[in-house]
């Protein structure tokens, strides 16, 4: 894919507060790129700069090589879907969708034809003459989407468009959004703080923290090879073991944790003492680790049944907590408070670089000596 929009050293300061620290970003033509990060991480500010609503304090934005930093929002020809939709309450659905064409001087007949096409694309047939306030949240969302796409923008910006909807509708609209992206071939830039939404929709995800892009990659690579602890903990749940006395051995790093020797493939560069394993790779059983496995001793503290899977919460001898996920069908074979082994295939252990690649230190590391667990997603219904 070719480069479409390029941002070079873009920064934004609000008084003494740096909302963005010199962002470099290359948006590829036709991709679905998501800005993901906690609130206040700068993702919305960057979107506003992209849209032309905010002027960057420094740096440059280019489109197909041409500088557009100083071009005002109405001349950029980008579509935008706002949080809360921002529909025009005094206009009908059809007039809302036709608005961008009207201000561009498109004649009435062509306007009606294109509005009708968009109404079909987003599935709003029969609602054209209603007012936005007479529609459901999901329908308003579709109007906002149609209005932002009707003039065939090169780039569509979406600011948390699904956050106001309930869970089922949100999932349905995710599929529709993906389908519309495929049909139109427009470049989508999507802002969210919902990691599941980001994983489900994106070709690439840019992880934001404290005004920096910490890592940008495909959802699969971000999940399986996070570049630092923040990304690892922000996407999904993860168990992190802090190894004592980490050292190299045959292309691996080995170290002690809770009396056991654990190992994982070494990374390039400095030795890291942070070994991570995703909950879905952990097995909880009475038997110890096999020859190609590693494991630690723990006791089961709680189980949370979730339909498709069960979440097991365990504690190691030093009191730090682990989280394991067991797929449905596997009967829980351990009792609460009984000593067990938590094991995983050695290949699934992954070291996380201790020195964050981002320019600023991200989350302060917890002071626990052993492993820590953290459920980043608490959005279970």
């Amino acid at each position: 894919m070719t480069s479409h929009i390029k941002m070079v050293g873009v920064s934004k300061a609000f008084g003494a507060f740096n909302a963005l620290n010199r962002i470099d970003l290359d948006i590829r033509r036709g991709e679905f790129l998501t800005f993901l990060g906690p609130s206040g991480s700068g993702k919305t500010t960057l979107l506003m700069i992209l849209a032309g609503f905010e002027k960057p304090s420094g740096g440059m934005v280019t489109k197909d090589g041409a500088d557009i930093t100083g071009v005002s929002a109405d001349r950029r020809n980008f579509g935008m879907v706002f949080q809360g939709y921002a529909l025009f309450p005094h206009m009908s659905v059809a007039d809302n969708i036709g608005f961008p064409l009207r201000v561009r001087g498109v004649d009435k007949r062509e306007r009606q034809a294109r509005v009708a096409d968009m109404v079909d694309l987003v599935g709003l047939a029969g609602h054209q003459s209603k007012r936005p306030q007479d529609l459901s949240g999901g329908q308003q969302q579709r109007v906002a989407l149609a209005r932002a796409l009707v003039f065939g923008p090169e780039l569509l910006l979406l600011d948390e468009p699904l956050s106001a909807l309930d869970k089922n509708l949100r999932e349905q609209l995710q599929f529709e959004l993906k389908e519309i992206h495929r049909k139109t071939g427009t470049t989508f830039v999507f802002v969210t703080h919902d990691q599941n939404e980001a994983l489900a929709l994106s070709d690439r995800i840019a992880i934001f923290n404290h005004g920096d892009i910490v890592q940008i990659d495909t959802p699969e690579r971000l999940y399986s090879a996070p570049c630092d602890r923040f990304t690892a903990e922000f996407l999904g749940s993860i168990n992190i073991f802090k190894l004592k006395n980490p050292r190299r051995q045959n292309g691996s790093i080995i170290g002690e944790f809770g009396g056991q020797v654990l190992s994982a493939p070494a990374l390039e560069g400095a030795i890291s003492s942070l070994l991570s394993v995703r909950p879905e790779f952990l097995d909880v059983r009475e038997a110890g680790p096999a020859s190609d496995e590693d494991g630690v001793r723990a006791v089961l503290r709680a189980q949370v049944y979730q339909g498709g899977s069960t979440i097991l919460k365990l504690a190691t001898a030093d009191g730090s907590e682990l989280i394991a996920m067991r797929a449905a069908g596997q009967a829980p074979c351990v009792e609460i408070d009984k000593p067990v082994w938590v094991t995983w295939p050695r290949l699934r252990g992954r070291l996380i670089p201790e020195n964050s690649l981002s320019r600023e230190v991200t989350e302060p590391l917890t002071t626990t000596m052993g492993g820590t667990w953290k459920i980043t997603s608490n959005r279970t219904a």
Binding site: A51, F53, D74, L87, F88, V103
Partner: protein, 281 residues
């Protein structure tokens, strides 16, 4: 029975409070005004002669036409000035908002009489405005800005602008800024955003302010009396003259009734066209 009353609209105390306003209106307004109506058809003799005098196209018709003309013109100017002021107030920075709030509230503390005399001092032939313009040799003789319709309209607009700001500013403040941003982002330049989005969305406030100011200005008394100097007589002043100077109570009463009907018609029309809800927000 006691139980039923408790289950209903509350006890005796609540009901007494509820009825206070209608009773006051009835005894202090409706009953006396019924007397005024009866004068209008009995003084000096029984019949509709006084109404005929008002509607037949003579002096009194002219007073009503002049009143309507001045009211409509000053209302239109008031709304225009008030709209700009409201826009500037609502859209401004914190500092600008504070300065404007002071400017809008201070006139409320000054009596309408004092303000009318203030304008008289400024506008009369040997007043501040003409004096300044003649001293700087921009004009050679006074412009005749005192004691005429122009002066009355200036005084009335000045009095009513602060009142017109509130209904308009309230509606403007409720307009979601993201809607304006969305219109801009979808390709509308600032002038188009104003024309197609901001203006239509603030119209309920404009209508509410228009009706309020129009009703207000039809019944104006002090400002036209002072700034018109007897040359620009509006209905309220004419009623005063008939009642207290020429003691033609019948004519004064008939004019009051016509004025009330006129105001009732304006309010009724606005109610029918716009609905009461656009006035209370």
């Amino acid at each position: 029975m006691a139980g039923a009353s408790r289950n209903g609209n509350g006890g005796l105390g609540t009901r007494a409070l509820l009825w206070t306003l209608p009773v006051l209106l009835l005894t202090l307004y409706v009953v006396p005004f019924a007397g005024v109506i009866s004068w209008s058809v009995t003084q000096p003799e029984v019949g509709f002669g006084q109404y005929w005098r008002i509607l037949s196209g003579g002096d009194m018709t002219n007073v009503f036409l002049r009143t309507l003309r001045i009211a409509v013109v000053s209302t239109a100017i008031t709304i225009l000035v008030g709209f700009c002021l409201s826009y500037y107030w609502v859209m401004g920075s914190r500092l600008r908002q504070t300065i404007l709030e002071v400017c809008i509230f201070i006139p409320f503390w000054i009596s309408v009489l004092v303000r009318a005399f203030g304008w008289l001092i400024i506008l009369r032939d040997n007043g501040l405005a003409n004096g300044f313009l003649m001293a700087t040799r921009l004009i050679s003789e006074p412009l005749g800005t005192g004691r005429n319709e122009f002066a009355v309209i200036v005084g009335m607009v000045h009095f009513m602008v602060p009142f017109s700001v509130f209904p308009m500013a309230t509606v403007m403040r409720k307009i979601d800024r993201r809607i304006l941003l969305a219109a801009h982002g979808l390709g509308a330049d600032p002038a188009t955003v104003f024309r197609k989005i901001f203006l239509p969305l603030s119209m309920p406030g404009v209508f509410a302010a228009f009706v309020m100011v129009l009703v207000f200005s039809v019944g104006f008394f002090v400002t036209p009396a002072i700034l018109g100097g007897g040359r620009v007589v509006m209905v309220a002043e004419a009623v005063f003259v008939q009642m207290f100077q020429t003691t033609n109570w019948g004519l004064g009463a008939a004019m009051s009734v016509v004025l009330l009907v006129l105001i009732g018609a304006i309010v009724g029309l606005a109610y029918r066209l716009l609905g009461l809800r656009s006035f209370v927000g």
